[in-house]
Subunit: 124 residues, 2 copies
DNA sequence: TATTTATTGCAAATGCATTATCATTTGCAT
DNA sequence: ATGCAAATGATAATGCATTTGCAATAAATA
């Protein structure tokens, strides 16, 4: 990551414009609107570097596979809309506070994946 | 699934003996203790049939990939121990009851994946 | 502006989980 | 006990996401 390139700027811009979990094809599609030549291999290469640099984070969604999002966000969970198939961010924590692991267990982290319909898809 | 075979019985037995999320290699390893010849392709074939028959369910763990568990269990979540690397079942629900999705959203399902240390790995 | 070399685009290659092929074995009805 | 089709074991093949090789392009630096 020693040089500024239009492709890399485009990819970062995609994450600014779409504040939700994105797949490689989505990143490539949105990025192509900025830099039409944008190649899939270039997306992979830059995503890898951005993850290594700590600017974006990989999320393995149980239903959708590998996705990416910007790191600079506070604790949140992901909501997958079965209507529009997008994954949006729900700020805050949905985990019960009390006593969810058995005695003796140490809880270090958790991931919560919600799904259903977003307001647009649910409302008629 | 028209015939009873030693292999299929062995695989079902594995799930009875190990009441947690199992990977294909784990199923194969435990099953081999019952039927030594047990082949990996046979495991895949039988797992597929057992899933189709509704006897076991596939779970895509965000950190560990594809795993399987018996269906006949009430609502629960999964705890991945970073010590012994097993995934155990925590009965009950750890989701906050109130107002976790924005207005207008419809919540249909959720998956919660916890991780940390189990009692055996945490206790000294 | 010329030079250097990181980065790109393209296509082929890789790794991996899963599936298909096929000869052999085995459950089960007769 | 026999015959037939389902199931197995061994291995090759597939699909897919991701990676790599390489020539061409384009940032940065002098």
């Amino acid at each position: 990551m020693k040089r500024q390139t239009a492709q890399r700027r485009a990819i970062e811009q995609v994450f600014e414009q779409h504040d939700r979990l994105l797949s490689i094809p989505e990143i490539r599609a949105y990025g192509s609107q900025i830099v039409p030549s944008l190649n899939q291999a270039t997306v992979y290469r830059n995503i890898k570097q951005l993850v290594a640099a700590g600017r974006i984070r990989q999320v393995n969604h149980p239903d959708l596979g590998t996705r990416y999002e910007r790191t600079q966000k506070s604790h949140h969970h992901h909501f997958h809309c079965n209507g529009c198939n997008r994954v949006m961010v729900l700020p805050g924590c949905a985990l019960k506070d009390d006593h969810i692991v058995p005695d003796g267990f140490v809880l270090e982290s958790h991931d919560i994946f919600l799904s259903g319909l977003c307001d647009q898809c649910a409302g008629h």
